[in-house]
Amino acid sequence: MFRQLLRNVKDRFRLLLLSERGRRARALHDRSRRQPDRIDPSLRFVSGFRHAYFESEARGLELLKEWLSPEQFAQYDAKCYFEVTGCHSGKRYRICHGTSMNIYELDGAGRPRVGLCFVPKGYLVSGDVMLAQKIALETDERRALTVANRFFSCFDYSSY
């Protein structure tokens, strides 16, 4: 009787712990999605780094927004990604907020078909990286695709 009671309490406690862990994991996941995803490792322990880092990020995003078309700007503002048209093939590409593995070639229905990864050399903030990717695809698509690495796209956009 007592053992049965103890087992029940243990089970309930384990469920409670698991749900708490799940909640924390979800919160961490959500937070990581909102935060910039690449930090220059050499800057991590420098005092005042956070201020400088976020200032640089903000400057990069300002520059990006200046160069986006009104449609791209509205799309980026609402969905954290914008779409561009390749100058040679006419294919559509989706550039998501990020600094790597953030480009998807879209199929006719606007679904991600294959992932592409190419970035400007050296460390740049996310706004700069996305702007360089946009200009490259819109002005010299072939060259961009030549250097790009491909990855399988399994990202679920239904949550966006």
Binding site: E55, A58, L63, V119, P120, G122
Partner: protein, 73 residues
């Protein structure tokens, strides 16, 4: 006042110059050559907002953007 914007780890560095001043224009052209020689791509925006890549210095461009060479990520 014309501007050359160079992407870097701080976001960007802006070099403003008077396009009517011959010395400033010469310096800007030199900067253009140095950056493109180092692998940077130069782009300007047209009146319609479209980006156009420039292989040679355009003294009439109000804003020229430079970004580093692209590599596979």
């Amino acid at each position: 006042m014309a501007t050359q914007i160079v992407m870097d780890r701080t976001g960007d560095t802006r070099h403003n110059f008077d396009a009517k001043n011959a010395d400033a224009l010469l310096k800007a052209e030199e900067r253009f050559r140095e950056l493109t020689g180092a692998g940077f791509t130069a782009a300007v925006r047209t009146a319609s907002g479209e980006a156009v890549v420039k292989r040679t210095f355009d003294p009439t461009a109000d804003e020229t953007l430079f970004f580093p060479r692209l590599v596979g990520g």
